[in-house]
């Protein structure tokens, strides 16, 4: 082996089948170019609020394309915003508690209820172009995706081992170098897993909100969501099924072409002292690694980077060692910051006052209805959680104890968790109505469809993590089945179960907004619930009700998080930690 210059990429070796790949990559570049132009033309066109949707299957690729573009833009924006937000929060002790609190609350608010005001605002902001409406929808998906990403990045930054931070300080890394060599690598794995969850949530919302009615205005954007809803409205089952197939295809392709390679690649960022045995394999990543083109981004980056490093090294900033605790000691506060803080709090107060003022038009009967709805939705969410837990725990444990099966089912559960349940909802409802069920059951089914996979995924992981010697001890002492479950299995999977249920509960609340109100051909299905009231208020343009309902949902979610989930979490961390 030639170790003289191990970093130099040898141009000859490894060129086994590069041409097809290189051609493909080049083709991709061309396609992207075309796509950008196409999107630009459409976006810059005159605003058409109701773009006619064709039921033809041949039109599907175009719709899928538009949806994917929306999704990608929203995701990229979230990623950039999340990183900026996490960075600012982690390094500014003054605003840190505020920013974390904002994260905590926004993470738990179901975004779908914001759709109408957001779209209105964006249409007003970008008048005369289709982009306004599009931006509204994109912004909405963005707000659904961004918070857990931001939180993941923030907590990664906070948990970087102290000695590594010290090393970066004492060796006088610039902020640039610290970001690329320490902070970003350390945060990558968390960002990837949270991206998977975020994008899944994004699809869920996107399918639901490409087509909606607000007051007397209809909005309908070309995309998979609109296609599915139109197909339902016209009762075209064939179109409906092919739409669902397209959605699944996209999810599976995303998983195989993006997430798996990313997870496999991110293995090198694992913070471990010794190499672990099991890794996720990704043939796509292997292919990419073999392509000579894969070296190009690195080389371009190096070219951009070198001058930056040289310039940074000459700044005063990089010639002294910065103490880690400088923030605590020099508590100087500039006047500008104060002015900013005062202005911000003034604006917030004004906004809050206006909002509360708006609530004055809500009548007592309205309020009673809302509270009833809140109770119903609360019940529904928790019933769906219980049902999920009831079947996923035994099944997940059985799967987890069988390593071969687990290896197959776990990635499958991950994919299933990413399939937007909203795509199945119409067909599910049609079926339910035929056998005499109603939306009450349907909404629970939707929540189940969307959320149970997170629990399953985590329970399997928990069961795998139970050390096999503990299981052997249990069988050695002839534990009864009851003892096995209460003494070994439940404590063992508890932390994982809680993690899964927290994720699932967030998803279920979000789903409730969509699940309790549905336009069918000829009629509107509705069941009692907060989500239904949000939808009804949207349809009739009653913003005060919308606002109050959103506040109620947020309050319930935040309270549940505080009172139940956080405590269970702490319990899981302290008592039920299996040191394996």
């Amino acid at each position: 082996m030639n170790l003289q210059h191990p970093l130099a990429r040898s141009p000859v070796t490894g060129r086994t089948r590069p041409f097809i790949i290189d051609l493909a990559v080049a083709a991709c570049a061309l396609a992207i170019f075309f796509a950008i132009i196409r999107t630009g033309v459409y976006w810059m066109g005159r605003p058409v609020t109701v773009v006619p949707i064709s039921n033809a299957i041949g039109a599907l690729p175009v719709y899928a394309f538009y949806s994917i573009v929306r999704m990608s833009i929203a995701y990229l924006l979230s990623l950039i915003f999340a990183i900026t937000y996490g960075y600012v929060a982690a390094y500014n002790p003054r605003v840190e508690p505020w920013m974390v609190a904002v994260l905590d609350i926004l993470q738990s608010i179901p975004v779908l209820s914001f759709l109408p005001p957001v779209v209105l605002a964006m249409v007003a902001l970008v008048p005369g172009h289709q982009m306004g409406i599009e931006m509204g929808v994109i912004l909405l998906i963005f707000t659904g995706q961004v918070w857990n990403l931001a939180f993941s990045f923030y907590s990664s930054l906070k948990s970087i081992p102290k000695e590594m931070v010290e090393a970066s300080r004492v060796y006088r890394y610039s902020a640039w170098q610290r970001f690329w060599q320490l902070e970003m690598p350390y945060a990558t794995i968390g960002l990837i897993w949270n991206s998977i969850v975020s994008v899944a949530g994004g699809w869920f919302a996107l399918i639901a909100c490409e087509m909606f009615t607000m007051g007397d205005r209809n909005f309908q954007l070309p995309g998979l969501g609109s296609y599915l809803q139109t197909a339902t409205a016209s009762g075209d089952i064939r179109a409906l099924l092919s739409g669902i197939a397209a959605v699944i295809l996209i999810v599976v392709a995303t998983d195989q072409l993006i997430w798996r390679p990313l997870i496999a690649w991110s293995d090198k960022f694992k913070f471990e002292q010794v190499e672990s045995a099991d890794r996720i394999a990704s043939p796509i990543l292997e292919l990419l690694r073999r392509s000579t083109l894969s070296a190009i981004p690195g080389r371009i980056f190096a070219h951009v980077e070198e001058p930056i490093y040289r310039r940074m090294a000459r700044t005063k900033e990089c010639q002294v060692v910065h103490p880690l605790d400088e923030g605590e000691i020099r508590g100087k506060s500039s006047a500008g910051l104060w002015v900013l803080a005062v202005a911000a709090s003034g604006a917030v107060c004004w906004g809050a006052a206006q909002a509360i003022f708006m609530l004055k038009t809500v009548t007592w009967p309205d309020l009673r209805l809302l509270l009833e709805g809140a109770a119903a939705t609360f019940l529904r969410v928790n019933v769906s959680l219980l049902i999920s837990a009831a079947w996923t725990v035994p099944v997940g444990v059985a799967i987890g104890f069988n390593p071969k099966l687990a290896r197959i089912v776990q990635p499958l559960a991950q994919i299933l968790a990413s399939v937007p349940a909203t795509a199945f909802f119409p067909i599910l409802l049609i079926g339910l109505i035929q056998i005499g069920g109603g939306l009450g059951i349907g909404s629970i089914a939707l929540m189940l469809l969307g959320t149970q996979w997170y629990i399953l995924f985590n329970v399997i992981a928990g069961a795998i993590s139970i050390p096999s010697d503990l299981r052997e001890v249990a069988s050695l002492y002839r534990f009864t089945r009851w003892q096995r479950w209460t003494k070994l299995i439940l404590p063992g999977i508890f932390p994982y179960l809680i993690t899964g249920m927290v994720t699932a509960s967030g998803g279920a609340w979000n789903a409730s907004v969509f699940a309790e109100y549905f336009h069918m051909p000829g009629r509107t299905l509705e069941t009692i619930g907060l989500g239904a009231q949000i939808d009804a208020a949207t349809a009739s343009g009653r913003f005060p009700i919308l606002l109050l309902a959103t506040i109620l949902i947020s309050l319930m979610v935040v309270t549940m998080n505080r009172l139940v989930w956080r405590r269970l979490y702490r319990l899981a961390e302290t008592r039920y930690k299996l040191e394996g």
């Binding site: 170790l3 960022f269 010794v274 605790d325």
Partner: protein, 462 residues
């Protein structure tokens, strides 16, 4: 002590040479999550001068790492000032490196990239970066491993990378924070001698080395000057030069004498050191607040029993240093056990020897139940915290007290982390002595079942 011409280490003729780093009355306080602030370092003067390896020695938690961070500019003293060539360190362009106990390598970078990174930070061109790094890897014996990732290497090799990274920037002062304590004994020994060799041959351009360690032998083996740090809050107890020729022989008489001497200093935290060759240390400021809790050494009762039995076997008295050897213990693992036994009055330290006391003898000779009783008596008599917990439990009608109650009191005296460790040790001792039990779920102390407890019965009447 032996007077020899020292061929490699500090050439004595220039003792007045200008300090590279000079600390003037530096103090450090840490804010606790509660409103309290605790003092970790009391006002201390210290100089790092060219040409010497300076070892900072002290029990864990005495503030050695804190001191190192202040001297290297990573942490700002709460009071006082650190100077780099007589310029305040915050504004000076300083050139130092740190070798960390946990290596602190970046796992996503290859060995070569890890070593190149500090050069990159200084704007060195790619070619020069690679050349210098490769040379340094060669020097530390890692040629051929440059493309490996740290996780593929053994602990010793990882620390070699740590050294290469530290030395590649040609630091004026090389700081090391317990660089060998995460390694096994043999590997550590190897690395130490290689480091000495580099230093002696002037292979590294480094002018001074500052070594933090809690290992006495390591300090005596390497250092030209040793500073012993006491704790609560950290203060210099003694500061002296080591006048032994390199290479030093662990078995030689002067060597063991010096180790013994340091032992004596360390095991008697309350007595001023007998003869400190160079009483350059600043005014010794003990804590201003009254300290009423002793620091519980983190030792298990079982360990104490084992030590006392061994001691009895040896006729009741033996050199601590030898005991450690007999037990195949790292000497600093033994120290907490000795401290604990001393605290409970089971043994005394005299001239570096451990001598068993009467109660210690009885303890060692008893069977387990009796041992628990003796331990209980000793604990209640000598350990304030345990006494308080027991009293509180007995006087409350429901016989339980939350852990927080005592944590709040400890918090005035110890850092958060130390509070938790103190509590952990207190729980271990209290459980062993059956003084109380601890409900980890509710984080409360509870009285154990009182069937056979006559002591508590009378208090119960209310």
């Amino acid at each position: 002590m032996q007077e020899t011409v020292i061929p490699t280490a500090a050439p004595n003729p220039a003792p007045v040479s200008e300090a590279i780093i000079r600390a003037e009355k530096i103090e450090k306080y840490y804010a606790q999550p509660s409103q309290n602030r605790i003092q970790v370092i009391s006002a201390t003067d210290l100089k790092i001068v060219p040409g010497e390896i300076l070892a900072l020695l002290g029990p864990s938690g005495s503030g050695k790492s804190t001191m190192l961070r202040m001297l290297s500019g990573l942490s700002t003293p709460t009071a006082g000032q650190v100077y780099w060539h007589e310029k305040p360190i915050a504004d000076a362009e300083i050139n130092v490196s740190i070798v960390f106990q946990s290596f602190a390598l970046f796992p996503w970078l290859t060995v070569l990239e890890n070593v190149e990174a500090p050069l990159q930070a200084r704007g060195v061109s790619p070619d020069e970066r690679r050349e210098r790094s490769m040379k340094m890897l060669d020097t530390v014996g890692l040629d051929g491993f440059e493309a490996a990732y740290p996780k593929e290497l053994s602990g010793g090799m990882k620390q070699r990378v740590g050294f290469a990274r530290a030395l590649v920037v040609e630091p004026e002062v090389l700081f090391m924070d317990e660089p060998f304590s995460a390694l096994d004994v043999l590997t550590a020994e190897n690395l130490r001698s290689e480091l000495l060799e580099l230093w002696a041959n002037k292979t590294m351009p480094t002018k001074a080395v500052f070594l933090v360690t809690h290992n006495i032998e390591e300090a005596v083996l390497l250092a030209d000057r040793i500073i012993v740090l006491g704790r609560n809050p950290g203060h210099i107890r003694t500061d002296f030069r080591v006048q032994l020729a390199q290479p030093r022989d662990r078995k030689s008489e002067p060597f063991t004498q010096l180790v013994d001497y340091i032992y004596k200093v360390l095991t008697k935290p309350d007595v001023a050191p007998a003869e400190a060759p160079d009483p350059q240390a600043g005014p010794r400021i003990r804590d201003q607040r009254q300290m009423h809790y002793q620091m519980l050494p983190h030792a298990r009762p079982g360990g104490m029993a084992g030590l006392l039995e061994l001691l009895l076997d040896k006729g009741g008295r033996d050199d601590i240093y030898r005991l450690a050897e007999d037990l195949a213990f790292e000497i600093d693992d033994l120290l907490p056990i000795v401290d604990a036994a001393q605290l409970l009055g089971f043994l005394n330290i005299e001239e570096g020897d451990a001598a068993i006391t009467e109660s210690g003898t009885e303890f060692a000779n008893s069977e387990i139940l009796r041992q628990k009783e003796l331990f209980r008596d000793a604990a209640v008599e000598h350990v304030l915290l345990l006494r308080q917990i027991r009293r509180a439990l007995e006087s409350k009608s429901d016989h339980t007290v939350p852990e927080d109650f005592f944590l709040d009191m400890l918090d005035e005296q110890f850092s958060e982390e130390e509070c938790l460790r103190q509590m952990e040790t207190a729980v271990a001792w209290g459980r062993y002595a059956e003084l109380f039990d601890f409900d980890a779920g509710r984080r409360r102390f509870v009285l154990p079942d009182m069937q056979d407890e006559d002591a508590a019965a009378s208090e119960d009447a209310k």
